[in-house]
C-alpha cells in the first residue's frame, strides 16, 4: 500500500507542487520569525551581559529594585546612601580594586536648529573613569571636558556623527558646546532608546547633569581586588552602603536586563507569530482544497484499489501518508527558506529597529525552532488532508467502472448549511452587540476577535452559495462580453465548493487588511475631529515634558505670551494657566484658567449646563472629572490649596471638548494661586490673511531664547499620526502579504487542477474554433472571478469589523471608508487572478488538441 502511495506521489508531484509551495511559504514565515527573534534575543543578552556582566558589583541608589539607566524613575533623592562619601568609604576597603560612581539626570541635547530634541530631555550620564561599563560602539568614550559620546539612537535621529559639534543645555539652561567623540549603544533598555542619552566624563557630568536636589550617584560600579570572590565582595559592599542601596553582582544586573529585553522581544515575536499563524491557516485551506480535488480526480484510481481488495482504512492511511510526506518535505524546505528569511530580516529589519544590533551576531537556529516548524508544517498538512482522506474512503468500488465520474456537477447547497450559517451570524451579532454596547475596554477586542472568527465560519459555510450568487450576478455582463467571458462564468460556477474554498483563502487576507484599513481610517478621522475640537488654534507652545521640577514650576515664561500678543500676525494668543490644588477631597489636582480669550471660543459643546453662566466663583468641569467628583451642574466644589473656596459647577464639557479637567475664572485663579500658578501652554491662532509659514516664523522667534519650549501645530500633529498609521498599514500589509501570496498560489493550484481535469473540454473548444488567446483569456477570467469574489467577500466582512473595532476602542467614531485603498485591494485581486491563471492557462493553450482528444 505504501508503495502505491509513493508511486502515486511521484506521478502527481506536479499537481502537489503549488500545495508544497504554500506550506513552504507558511513555514518559512514561522521559522523566519523564530530565528529572527532567537537571534535578536541572544544578541541583546550578549550585549547587556557584556556591559553589565564585566562589572563585579553594581550598587543602585534607590531601594527600588531597578537596573540600567531607566529614566522612568528619577533618582528618589535618598541622600547619603550612595554619595561621594560612600564612594570614598568603598575605596578604603581592601577587597576593592576600583570604584566609580555614575551620575544620571536630564541634560537636554539640542538639535541642529537649536531646539531641545524630543518631548523629553535627553538623559545625561557619566561614563568612563575608574570602572567603565560601556564601551564606544564607534569612536571612543569622552576623556576631556569638551567631549561627549551620544547614544546611537540620538545620533541617528538627529543626524549627528563622530566629529560633529553639538550643544547641550547645562542646568542653568545655557547651551554648551561639545565635540562628539564616540557613539555608545545602550541597547533597548527602558525608554532610553526613545529619550536618547548624552555621555560626559565623570568630572564634566557633575556640572552638566542636573541632579534632583539631595541625590548623588545613581549607581556605583565596583571592581574587586584580585582573588576576592564576587559574593564576598557583594557582602562587603552591602555592609558599607547600608540599607538604602541595592547591591547586585554585575551578572545579576545583566540577567535582569536580558530578561527585560527578552520580554520586549516576546511581544514582537508574538505579533509576528500571529501573522505566521494566519499564513499557515490560509495554507491549510489551500492544502485542503488541493487534496479534496486530487481525491475527486483520483476517484477511479481509489475505486480500482478497492476492487483489488484495499479496505477503507488503507485508502485513508494512504492519503494521510501522502499528506505527511508532502508536509514534511515542504516544511523542511520551508525551514531552510525561513532561516534565510530570518537572516534577511536581521540584515534589513533589525537595522531599522535596532540600528546597532543583529549585524554583529551569528544566526541562532535553535533545534526547538526547527522541530517546531517541521511539526507545525506536517501537522497542518495532515490536518488539512483529514477530511479529503475521509472522502476517499467513501468511494464505492463500482466507481472504477463508471467513466467521467469526476465531472459531475456538485450537489445543491443544503438548507442545513444555511441554517448553521445564520446561527453563526446570530452568535456573531450578539458578541458584537455586547462589545459595542459596553464601554471601551480591552475585553471588547477579545469579543470582537471571537465574533470575527464566528462570522468567518459563517461565511465559509455560505461561500458555495456566494459563488453561485456572484456568478449569477455577473453572468449577464460576462455573457455579453463574448464566449470566453461566458464560459469563464459558467466554469467558475460549476464546482462552487471548489471555487469557494479557493476564494476563501483570499478572503482571510483581504478581510484582515480591509479591517485594519477601515479601522485606521475611522480612528484617524475621529482623532482629527477631536484634535480640531481641542485645538481650534494653529500652534501650541508647551515646555518639554520631564524637564526639572523647577522648570516645570515655571511653565511657559509669561514673556513669551506677552511677546506674542504684540505681534500683528497673530489674532489670538491664549494662555492656559494651571496650578496644583486640592479639589474637594482629592489632593494633587490640576486647576486651570484661560486668558487671552473667552472659554466659549475654545469649547463649543457641553454635555450639560451653559458656558454663558461661567463667571467668578464658578467652575467648568470635564465629563470624567465631574463623574470622578460625583457632582453635577448646580453642585458646589471646594477648590484651594490651604484654604478651599466653594465654586458652583455651571457646565460640564464632553470628553472630546475638554480643554482642562477643572477650569475657573482667571480672577479667582490669581487670587488663590498667585504663587504656584504657571502657564501650562500658550495657544495662538493666526490673523486672517497670514500665511502659515509666516505665523510659524513669529512663533519660532518668540521661543528662540527658550530651547526647551516645544512648538506643536495641529497640522503637524495630524501629520505625525497620519505617518504613524501609514507605517502601521505598510507593516500590516507586508505581514499579511505572505497569507495573500499563499492564497494566490491556492487559486493558481485550483485553476491548474481544473484545467487538467478539463483537458478534453479545452481541446473540444479549440477544435470548434476557440483560439489559443481566447482559451487563455477564458481561464484568466475564471481566476479573476474567483479572486475578485474572494477579495470582495473579505472587504465586506473587513469593513464591518474594522468599523466595529473602531467603535469598541473609541467612544465616538464615525465610519470612514478608505475608498482608494479598497479600490486598490480590488485592483490587486484582479491582478492576483490574472497572475494565478498565467501558468494553468498557458499549459491549457499549449496542449495538443489531438492528444487531448485521444486521452481519457
Amino acid at each position: 500500500m505504501l508503495r502505491t502511495t509513493l508511486a502515486g506521489l511521484r506521478l502527481h508531484k506536479r499537481r502537489l507542487f503549488t500545495t508544497a509551495l504554500a506550506i513552504v511559504l507558511g513555514i518559512m514565515f514561522v521559522t523566519g520569525t523564530l530565528v529572527f527573534s532567537d537571534t535578536l534575543r541572544a544578541d541583546f543578552s550578549r550585549q547587556v551581559m557584556g556591559s553589565a556582566g564585566k562589572i563585579d558589583v553594581i550598587v543602585t541608589a534607590t531601594g527600588v529594585a531597578k537596573a540600567g539607566p531607566d529614566p522612568d524613575e528619577e533618582p528618589t533623592g535618598e541622600p547619603g546612601a550612595s554619595d561621594v562619601e560612600t564612594v570614598a568609604a568603598l575605596r578604603d576597603l581592601p577587597e576593592i580594586e576600583s570604584v566609580q560612581g555614575v551620575l544620571e539626570g536630564p541634560a537636554p541635547l539640542l538639535d541642529r536648529d537649536g531646539r531641545a530634541v524630543g518631548y523629553i530631555p535627553t538623559l545625561g550620564m557619566s561614563v568612563g573613569g575608574e570602572v567603565s561599563r560601556y564601551e564606544a560602539f564607534e569612536g571612543r568614550l569622552p576623556t576631556a571636558d569638551n567631549e561627549v559620546a551620544l547614544d546611537t539612537g540620538s545620533a541617528n535621529d538627529n543626524d549627528f556623527g563622530v566629529g560633529d559639534t553639538v550643544e547641550v543645555l547645562d542646568p542653568q539652561g545655557e547651551p554648551r558646546s561639545f565635540t562628539v567623540v564616540g557613539l555608545i549603544d545602550l541597547g533597548i533598555q527602558g525608554s532610553v532608546s526613545q529619550r536618547g542619552a548624552v555621555a560626559f566624563t565623570p568630572e564634566r557630568a557633575q556640572e552638566m547633569v542636573e541632579l534632583p536636589a539631595g541625590s548623588g550617584y545613581t549607581r556605583i560600579y565596583v571592581m574587586g581586588a584580585e582573588g576576592v570572590p564576587v559574593h564576598q565582595l557583594q557582602e562587603e559592599v552591602a555592609a558599607a552602603t547600608g540599607e538604602a542601596a541595592q547591591v547586585q553582582t554585575g551578572q545579576e544586573v545583566g540577567e535582569t536586563l536580558a530578561e527585560r529585553a527578552g520580554a520586549e522581544l516576546e511581544i514582537m515575536r508574538s505579533g509576528l507569530l500571529l501573522f505566521a499563524a494566519v499564513a499557515m491557516f490560509v495554507a491549510a485551506i489551500v492544502i485542503y482544497n488541493t487534496f479534496a480535488i486530487l481525491i475527486a480526480q483520483r476517484q477511479r484510481e481509489m475505486a480500482l484499489l478497492r476492487c483489488l481488495g484495499a479496505v477503507r482504512g488503507q485508502l485513508f492511511r494512504g492519503v494521510l501518508v501522502e499528506a505527511v510526506i508532502v508536509g514534511l518535505l515542504s516544511s523542511a524546505v520551508g525551514v531552510l527558506a525561513g532561516i534565510g528569511l530570518g537572516a534577511a530580516g536581521l540584515t534589513f529589519g533589525a537595522e531599522l529597529m535596532y540600528p546597532t544590533t543583529g549585524a554583529t551576531a551569528g544566526l541562532v537556529v535553535s533545534p526547538l525552532a526547527v522541530l517546531a516548524s517541521l511539526g507545525v508544517g506536517t501537522l497542518v498538512t495532515m490536518g488539512a488532508a483529514l477530511v479529503p482522506a475521509l472522502g476517499a474512503t467513501r468511494v464505492a468500488p463500482l466507481a472504477a467502472l463508471r467513466a467521467g465520474a469526476t465531472l459531475g456537477s456538485e450537489k445543491g447547497v443544503g438548507w442545513l448549511r444555511i441554517v448553521a450559517a445564520v446561527a453563526l451570524f446570530g452568535i456573531c451579532g450578539a458578541m458584537v452587540a455586547l462589545a459595542v454596547g459596553g464601554d471601551p475596554s480591552p475585553r471588547n477586542l477579545t469579543l470582537i476577535v471571537a465574533a470575527g472568527v464566528t462570522c468567518f465560519l459563517g461565511v465559509v459555510l455560505l461561500s458555495p452559495l456566494l459563488v453561485r450568487g456572484f456568478v449569477w450576478l455577473i453572468s449577464g455582463p460576462m455573457r455579453s462580453s463574448g464566449v470566453p467571458g461566458r464560459l469563464a462564468a459558467d466554469n467558475a460556477g460549476r464546482t462552487p465548493k471548489r471555487a469557494a474554498t479557493a476564494m476563501i483563502a483570499l478572503t482571510v487576507g483581504a478581510g484582515l487588511i480591509t479591517a485594519f484599513s477601515v479601522f485606521s481610517a475611522s480612528v484617524q478621522s475621529s482623532l482629527d475631529e477631536q484634535l480640531d475640537d481641542r485645538m481650534p488654534v494653529d500652534y501650541q507652545i508647551m515646555r518639554q515634558l520631564g524637564t526639572t521640577a523647577e522648570e516645570q514650576r515655571q511653565g511657559v515664561p509669561p514673556a513669551v505670551a506677552a511677546e506674542l500678543r504684540q505681534t500683528p500676525e497673530l489674532d489670538k494668543v491664549y494662555s492656559l494657566h494651571e496650578a496644583d490644588a486640592h479639589v474637594a477631597e482629592q489632593p494633587q489636582m490640576r486647576v486651570s484658567a484661560l486668558t487671552g480669550g473667552d472659554l466659549t471660543e475654545i469649547v463649543e459643546e457641553t454635555t450639560s449646563g451653559d458656558l454663558a453662566d461661567f463667571t467668578d466663583q464658578t467652575t467648568v468641569l470635564s465629563q470624567p472629572m465631574a463623574e470622578m467628583l460625583g457632582v453635577e451642574v448646580g453642585d458646589q466644589v471646594d477648590i484651594g490649596t490651604e484654604q478651599q473656596r466653594p465654586y458652583e459647577v455651571v457646565a460640564v464639557t464632553s470628553e472630546t471638548e475638554a480643554l482642562a479637567p477643572i477650569v475657573v475664572a482667571y480672577s479667582d485663579f490669581t487670587e488663590q494661586f498667585a504663587d504656584t500658578g504657571r502657564i501650562q501652554l500658550v495657544a495662538v491662532a493666526k490673523a486672517e490673511g497670514i500665511e502659515t509659514t509666516q505665523a510659524r516664523d513669529v512663533v519660532d522667534a518668540a521661543v528662540a531664547d527658550y530651547p526647551t519650549l516645544g512648538v506643536q501645530s495641529a497640522a503637524e500633529l495630524k501629520q505625525q499620526y497620519t505617518d504613524m498609521f501609514n507605517v502601521m498599514f505598510l507593516v500590516v500589509a507586508a505581514l499579511l502579504s505572505m497569507a495573500i501570496l499563499i492564497a494566490i498560489f491556492g487559486i493558481a493550484n485550483t485553476m491548474a487542477l481544473s484545467v487538467l481535469e478539463r483537458t478534453r473540454e479545452s481541446a473540444l473548444l479549440r477544435a470548434v474554433g476557440l483560439s489559443r488567446a481566447q482559451l487563455r483569456w477564458m481561464l484568466s477570467l475564471e481566476a479573476v472571478i474567483v479572486s475578485v469574489l474572494g477579495a470582495l467577500t473579505g472587504i465586506a466582512v473587513g469593513i464591518v469589523f474594522g468599523w466595529i473595532t473602531g467603535r469598541a476602542v473609541l467612544e465616538e467614531v464615525s465610519l470612514v471608508l478608505p475608498g482608494w485603498q479598497i479600490a486598490g485591494f480590488v485592483a490587486a485581486a484582479v491582478l492576483a487572478g490574472l497572475v494565478a491563471a498565467v501558468l494553468p492557462s498557458r499549459r491549457a493553450a499549449r496542449a495538443s488538441i489531438t492528444a487531448a482528444l485521444a486521452s481519457e
Binding site: 456537477s409 464566449v483 459558467d490 473540454e761 473540444l764 470548434v768 476557440l770 483560439s771 482528444l853 485521444a854
Partner: protein
C-alpha cells in the same frame, strides 16, 4: 495493388474535390523510434459526398483525419481545402479555418457539460460572433429531432441525443466539410443508425461533404465511398459499399 488503387482515387466526379491530400506523411518521434503514422497518402474527397475512412487499429485513420481537419500538422505533403493549402497555415489561421469552414463530430465528449443542448449547438457560431439564422437553426433542430430537448444539459441527454446535438452543431454553420471521428462508437445500434442516417441525408439533401473515420462496417455502409488504410498507406477503396463488401475487404486487409 495498393499503389494503383491510391492513384485512381483521384476525382470521381467532374466537380473539384472538397479536400485533397498529396503525399501526406506524419512521423511521430517517440525518441527511440520514429513511427510513421501516415506514409505518403494521396487522396481526394468529392464535394457533397459522404466518405468513410476505414482500417484496423493503428492504421493511421484518425491521424489522417486530424491532419485533413487541421487539428494536427503533417510532417510533409500537403492538404488542400478548396483552394486553401492548409499545410502551411499558422495556428491562428487553422483555428479560423476550423471555426468557419469545418464541422466536427467526435466519438465521445462532444459537448461542454455546463452548456445546454441549444448553447452547445450555437457555440461555434458564438465563438465566431456569427449570427445564427433562425430558420436554419429551426430546420436543423427539426432534422435531428431535438426540439423538446434544447434546454437540457448534456448529462440529462441520452448518448444518442448527445451525438445528435453534436451533429446539429456541426451542420449549423453549413461548413465545407464535416469530420466525424467514430461518431457512433459509443452508441447502441439504433441510435447509431439514426446519427448515420442524418449524416447520409445531409450529404445527399444538403450537398454536405462528410468525412467519417470508423472501424464499424455497418457504419461505413452508410457512406457513398469507403477508403481503406493500413500502416499509414491508402490500400483500397470501395464505391457504393455494403456492410458485407466492407467487411470482406477488411478481413482481407487484416489477413
Amino acid at each position: 495493388m495498393s499503389e494503383t488503387m491510391a492513384h485512381q482515387a483521384a476525382p470521381q466526379t467532374d466537380a473539384p474535390p472538397a479536400v485533397v491530400a498529396q503525399g501526406l506523411t506524419k512521423v511521430y518521434d517517440t525518441g527511440a523510434t520514429a513511427v510513421r503514422a501516415l506514409d505518403g497518402v494521396d487522396v481526394a474527397f468529392a464535394r457533397g459526398a459522404f466518405t468513410a475512412i476505414m482500417g484496423p487499429s493503428g492504421s493511421g485513420k484518425s491521424t489522417l483525419m486530424h491532419c485533413l481537419a487541421g487539428l494536427d500538422t503533417a510532417t510533409s505533403g500537403s492538404v488542400h481545402m478548396g483552394r486553401t493549402d492548409i499545410t502551411g497555415l499558422k495556428d491562428r489561421e487553422l483555428t479560423l479555418l476550423r471555426r468557419d469552414r469545418i464541422g466536427f463530430i467526435f466519438q465521445s465528449f462532444n459537448l461542454l457539460p455546463m452548456l445546454t443542448a441549444q448553447q452547445n449547438i450555437v457555440l461555434p457560431a458564438e465563438i465566431a460572433r456569427r449570427k445564427v439564422e433562425p430558420k436554419r437553426f429551426e430546420r436543423i433542430v427539426e432534422v435531428v429531432g431535438l426540439h423538446d430537448r434544447l434546454d437540457h444539459l448534456p448529462v440529462k441527454l441520452s448518448g444518442g441525443e448527445q451525438q445528435r446535438v453534436a451533429v446539429a452543431r456541426a451542420l449549423l454553420n453549413d461548413p465545407e466539410v464535416v469530420y466525424a471521428d467514430e461518431p457512433t462508437g459509443n452508441l447502441d445500434s439504433r441510435s447509431g443508425a439514426e446519427v448515420l442516417g442524418f449524416l447520409r441525408d445531409s450529404a445527399r439533401e444538403l450537398e454536405q461533404t462528410v468525412i467519417m473515420v470508423t472501424h464499424d462496417p455497418m457504419a461505413a455502409a452508410y457512406a457513398d465511398r469507403v477508403v481503406f488504410l493500413r500502416d499509414g498507406r491508402l490500400v483500397d477503396e470501395v464505391g457504393t459499399p455494403t456492410a458485407e463488401l466492407v467487411l470482406d475487404r477488411l478481413v482481407k486487409l487484416e489477413g
